[in-house]
Amino acid sequence: MLSRTAANLYWLSRNMERAECLARILDATNRLTSLPQADGETNEWESAIATAACAESFKLNYETANEQSVTEFIAFSPHNPSSIRNCLETARQNARAVRTALTVEMWDAINGAWQELKRFENRRLNRDDFSRFLTFVKSASLAYDGSAYRTMLRNDGYWFSRLGILVERADATARILDVKYHVLLPEKERVGGQIDYFQWASILRSVSALTSYYWVYKESVKPWLVADLLIRNPQMPRSLASCYENLSRYLDDLAQFYGRQGNSQRLARAMLTKLSNTTMDDIFQGGLHEFIQKFIAENNRLGNSITEQYLT
């Protein structure tokens, strides 16, 4: 398969997944801002910018981070290369370039999302509209994911599209978990207090994992258990462990198909081993934020390695 075709499939999936992740970050932020505040001295919107990893380009375009500027920048701004709008637009370009490598259902999901996007663009959205917009983005990504899962031939094209989703999803989960690091607790609040508790619960809800949490742990929301669920639990489909289990598997499928192993296979396997050998104690001792930052860097390295090995 042409490297360019593989790259388009990979990035198409990454862009769709990224759009969803950004929607989830905005959703999480919205929920955090609606928690009862101690004194209004909070910075949820700045944390959203930090989590979406677009602080620098944001500062070039806006003075202050508030609900309006941040939602506009992350959702619709053409100046933000990773805005939801640009992700959907780029995804459609990726799809057009490899139109014949997609099934009709996949194309419809992408093209439909792109058409729908125009109904939200360039008009003032109130909170209700905006929450409808976020729901739309999440369901567009689900429709794409589902159509690929259901209709694509299981060969290298499919595996590259899965790799794109998983690399992006691992990155997203790590970042969403990190939201909590960036959100400061109001001064009078203590760790483990009520606000802290609600903040963690909001994070779980934003990745549709609150119910799963109760199923797995059968107790009230605790930071280390939330981290355990999103980092180490292979049953949780967005967890880092689950992402790497699947990354490893699809990379092995590719290696077998092409008859050749490479750096990507080694990196994925190493990370999978690391995730299953690390305890939550290890993670919290070294600092959750530090662990996540390191993970994001290594996940990037895997992305680069896949690009180098297959996509160029």
Partner: protein, 471 residues
């Protein structure tokens, strides 16, 4: 001007080839035809068979109108055409080969030298450079018009990157879906093997360095090209990779494509990119569509480019006027297919005659295409005619003129019902190392506006399925 009606003789009698169809057309209610027409349009849209119109900002993706009434030619008519087309393509290939090597035809004074040397698409880079198997022209689209029972004329030779073959194939596909009952009552020769024949042709001209099963790719300028649909369509049907310039690279004079399994050697490039953009090291330096070093690999005999670089020297309209002589010179045969009589305005005698009869003639730019830069005298206003008179006097060598032909007509489904409309035919001729292949059929283009003679899709033309009856 009475045009030849392909369905009906002058006395109103239906010609044998059209008997079944004519009977069917009489019985089918118009709303059924209309319904099928709309159904065809929906299918075309869903398949994404659109074309882009350059220079139009609005609605850059459009459908070419499709007429659901097929055009029918008999086996006898086709056999004659196929022989004539084969002969013509062989002569064209010999001419291009000669122009870039010995130039015997120039030295013999048959074609004037400046027609070659001053032709902007003449490629001095190809002088004396061998190409695999001396094969230059693998895919030709030769436009044919009909003016009488046995009168076929070549209107134009397209020897660069002729397009439209995907319409020939898709039109048939849609007709099979919409009118199975008509196919059951006609022995229509299939066209769907075109892509197999194309692949066989391309493989046959692979360089000697290629393995037993040469790797063929289609090179496209990319998704913004007006014919991108056709490029991806052909790649799909042939099972070959559709590459862009950036997918290819040249190392040690060999061409490779970048694949997920590492570099893969490429033997034959069916390019849908113009000469100018093929290799930024040799042609347009700012082109990002091409492959740096491609020409050097080509000259080293390590890759076949189809059609060869520089085949444009055979398809301008001034060279066209010499085609009968070109056929005689290389093949020693009389041309089977006639040219349309052509005045070369570069010759003072011809120019004089053209200027005196301008309102009745068709004037064409020597390097024009797509129906642009042309004047159809009888259909033009006084102002347009005067405009062309000035152009002709200023730059006579840029034009040729021809009598206005009464292109034959075929029954066509238009708003007022079924009415005759003028048509032409573009068959696609594949010229391999082993043999010439002509798939029985072609793209029939129809001028949908009443009385119009311009069949180009950019100017109100549509297409029809073309049926060659097997018996």
């Amino acid at each position: 001007m009475d045009a030849f009606d392909e369905m009906r003789a002058a006395n109103g009698q239906v010609r044998p080839a059209y008997l079944v169809l004519s009977d069917w057309l009489k019985r089918v209610p118009p709303d059924v035809l209309d319904y099928r027409r709309r159904e065809a349009e929906t299918i075309f849209r869903r398949m994404g068979i659109t074309f882009a119109v350059y220079g139009e900002t609005e609605a850059t993706e459009r459908l070419i109108p499709f007429d659901i009434i097929p055009r029918i030619l008999t086996a006898r008519e086709w056999a004659f055409l196929a022989r004539g087309l084969t002969q013509r393509v062989k002569a064209l290939n010999a001419y291009i080969h000669d122009v870039y090597t010995k130039r015997e035809i120039l030295r013999a004074g048959i074609v004037p030298e400046d027609l070659v040397y001053q032709n902007p698409v003449f490629r001095p880079e190809m002088n004396g450079k061998p190409v695999p198997h001396d094969s230059y022209l693998q895919i030709a689209g030769i436009d044919v018009v009909r003016t009488g029972e046995d009168q076929f004329h070549v209107l134009e030779d397209n020897t660069r990157v002729p397009s439209g073959v995907s319409y020939m194939l898709e039109n048939r596909e849609i007709m099979l879906r919409l009118f199975p009952e008509l196919f059951a009552r006609h022995a229509v020769a299939p066209v769907e093997n075109y892509t197999d024949e194309l692949l066989a042709t391309l493989k046959s001209v692979a360089p000697l360095s290629a393995s037993g099963d040469p790797t063929v790719v289609i090179l496209t300028p990319g998704i913004f090209n007006s014919a991108y649909f056709e490029h991806s369509f052909l790649a799909d049907k042939m099972g070959v990779e559709l590459v862009e310039g950036r997918d290819l690279f040249v190392r040690s004079n060999a061409v490779y494509m970048r694949t997920t399994e590492g570099p893969k050697r490429v033997d034959v490039i069916y390019r849908r990119v113009d000469d100018d953009f093929l290799d930024p090291l040799v042609f347009q330096p700012d082109s990002v569509l091409g492959v740096p070093g491609l020409m050097s690999a080509y000259h080293a005999g390590q890759v076949t480019i189809a059609n060869a670089v520089g085949t444009g020297v055979a398809d301008d309209k001034a060279v066209y006027s010499y085609m009968p002589e070109i056929v005689r010179f290389y093949l020693g045969e009389e041309p089977l297919l006639a040219n349309v009589p052509t005045w070369r305005c570069r010759e003072p005698e011809h120019l004089k005659e053209v200027l005196s009869r301008l309102p009745e003639l068709v004037v064409k730019e020597v390097h024009g295409s797509g129906g642009y830069g042309m004047m159809v005298g009888p259909a033009s206003t006084k102002e347009t005619i005067e405009l062309f008179r000035n152009k002709l006097m200023r730059e006579p060598e840029g034009f040729i003129a021809q009598p206005t032909l009464a292109l034959s007509t075929c029954p066509t489904f238009v708003e007022s019902g079924i009415a005759p409309r003028h048509v032409d035919l573009r068959p696609y001729i594949l010229n391999g190392r082993d043999r010439v292949r002509v798939v029985p059929g072609g793209l029939t283009r129809v001028a949908l506006n009443e009385g119009s003679l311009v069949v180009n899709s950019s100017q109100g033309g549509g297409t029809k399925d073309t049926w060659i009856l097997d018996r």
